[in-house]
Symmetry: C2
Subunit: 224 residues, 2 copies
């Protein structure tokens, strides 16, 4: 396995994050690279979903991954094992990534020959939602064991996400989790939110999510 | 059910948090009130554990609860239903509580007639670990569905906690979670960490946790 490169990104040099994020997105459009920001709680299943997604799409798309973590390279090593280009970003204790930190990671990764880059954000439902990373779309995972009341308790992340993946549906029988209720709560926060219930572990429900992602990458990278 | 009072605590007036936390703890010692800071990821099971704990101890201890949340009063209403004094703290988007915010909550709650106050911190494994709230002890929950690699990925919270509760052991058969491995990883971060595997839902393993908590409250509140 290729050794994972680790980049320290704790200091961002840009004061105006929103402007920097917009500039970053415009550059990605010119390069025909789609950047997806993937957020969830710790243990929500970001890395497993990402591995499954890469395995399904790597023959049709050129994929790269930015793995953000407070510390360790546990996830980056798992992703690098799939064979895609992977960079580990260390936030030095910070619980989010902003556009400047993301740009630094993208430069290290090199995006010219990539169709899709996934930024696996720090496991957290609060801080990552507060910063535009420059991603084209934001996806979040809520996993069944976390409970169906999370859209009430962490409203912002549901508001800023384009996609809600409800992961670990294979364990639905073992938890008090009302799928209809969580969809209703989530749509109260964000009526346009697209919702995909799935199990990254068993593969159930992955098709709808993969179709959505394929369509997004195609729309973003096609020549006007 | 008593209506839950909601307090906004987003601004702390104290610059030196560590000194303020020490001052708060000294005041709690004089008042013979034990303050427990309870931390976990979103959906780790803080509220369910707290409900169970209150039900087990409310005839022997006078208990109060500070419920911290970004938004909503979902948890505070569940706790107030147990009959104990409960205050909802709204952090206004912030993902932690510091000593000044905690003190404001304690003043609203009134601690003179309480033996035990539990502060249910914001669901997050990063920011809450960075601030001393003034609590006598820190307890954290890691739930089985979150995975056994979390001590590697979120080191600080394991380092600053006195107790690690491994919750949701009733679903161990449905997840790849190595209990021995997580104990080993957690003790690498903090050799003194006391670890209680339990299920707040089924009640399995609760006795050891309750015994520990009883002993802590007794040691703190007894007259020297």
């Amino acid at each position: 396995m290729e050794k994972v490169r680790i980049i320290e990104v704790k200091e961002s040099i840009f004061a105006d994050n929103d402007r920097e994020a917009a500039r970053l997105r415009a550059g990605l459009k010119r390069e025909k690279t789609f950047l997806l920001n993937l957020m969830s709680s710790p243990g929500g299943g970001k890395t497993t979903l990402l591995k499954r997604t890469i395995e399904a799409l790597k023959d049709e798309l050129r994929i790269g991954v930015l793995e953000a973590d407070i510390d360790s390279a546990v996830d980056a090593e798992k992703i690098a094992a799939t064979g895609v280009k992977t960079i580990q970003l260390h936030t030095g204790g910070m619980c989010h990534l902003d556009a400047g930190m993301t740009e630094k990671g993208l430069k290290e990764l090199g995006t010219a020959d990539l169709d899709l880059v996934v930024l696996e954000n720090v496991g957290n439902l609060v801080c990552p939602a507060e910063f535009d990373t420059g991603a084209v779309k934001n996806a979040m995972i809520l996993s069944v064991p976390e409970g169906d009341d999370k859209p009430l308790k962490y409203p912002l992340i549901f508001t800023v996400s384009d996609v809600l993946i409800i992961n670990k549906i294979d364990v639905l029988p073992h938890f008090d989790f009302d799928l209809d209720k969580v969809k209703e709560y989530a749509h109260l926060r964000n009526p346009k939110l697209e919702i995909f219930p799935l199990s990254a572990k068993t593969g159930e429900g992955m098709t709808a999510w993969l179709d959505w992602l394929r369509r997004q990458v195609r729309d973003w990278t096609q020549t006007d």
